[in-house]
């Protein structure tokens, strides 16, 4: 361990603000990219589910309509 105490570790020889800002921004930035992709996948799933439901609804409505026609 290079530092004598935890306080000295946080202080970084007076450069604490600069060092910690760099590291926090870097890792938050990288993490954001992962979260973004997770979100994008979720959106894609929702879109496909919605589209699929719509196709099913149209199919059902058509069946109903043709049923009604044949009943007449």
């Amino acid at each position: 361990m290079h530092f004598d105490s935890f306080a000295a570790f946080i202080d970084m020889g007076g450069y604490g603000f600069y060092v910690w800002t760099s590291f926090i921004v870097t890792f938050v930035g990288i993490y954001t990219l992962f979260i973004e992709q997770k979100w994008r996948k979720k959106q894609l799933k929702l879109a496909v589910v919605k589209e699929n439901d719509r196709i099913q609804r149209i199919k059902k409505a058509k069946e109903k309509a043709s049923q009604a026609n044949s009943d007449e």
Binding site: H2, G13, S22, F23, T26, L44, V48, V49
Partner: protein, 250 residues
Amino acid sequence: MWKWLHPYAKTEETYALCGRLYPWFLWPAIALLAVGTVWGLAFAPADYQQGDSFRIIYIHVPGAMLSMGLYAGMAILGFIGLVWQIRTCYMGIAAIAPVGAMMTFIALFTGAVWGKPMWGTWWVWDARLTSELILLFLYLGVIALYGAFDDKIQAGKAVAVMSLVGVINLPIIHYSVYWWNTLHQGATISKFDNPSISSDMLWPLLLNILGFGLVAGALACRRLQNEILTREMRRPWAQTLLLSNETGAK
């Protein structure tokens, strides 16, 4: 000889490959970054001139190296895509660009935050900094250009050409510290025969460089998967995959 590559022109195969590679990128990356960062922050000795502020090097240099490496990767994909007309390569460019932009941002941001205490300024229009800023604009240009076309084959061709043209910036960034009298310091580790850094400072840096590379790989895999799914949303395999709860990729 290159026959094993052919199936990957089929997006479904590439999607599966990315899914298989992802954990092999992600977990070693987390392990390397954890060890490298803790080692660099807490155990490496302080620099004799810069004190503890030099510890920013453990993210600044990996970010900068990856910003250039990823750009080179985009250009190679662009070349392959244009020559052999493989659209998976275009998707690869679209997948890598935002990761590269983030790495460039990291290099610039940590550089500014490092520059303030060491040089007394956040920013100077020095050759290294300016050429790296141009790299960020190239990345943003690629992202914007890809988004500007509805026809993604056209978009892919456009960004492939742009990536290839932008490669001229890479040697400029690399040699800027030799060609011009810059404020930015010279190379630290690329002088392999005689690196100007002591080994107990060098090791955590190497771990973090590798870690950043693997993180970028993991992100590129994930992005490429989502890009493929977006393009192939109407295909049966993609529909099945997206509609099932068990996707193999959270």
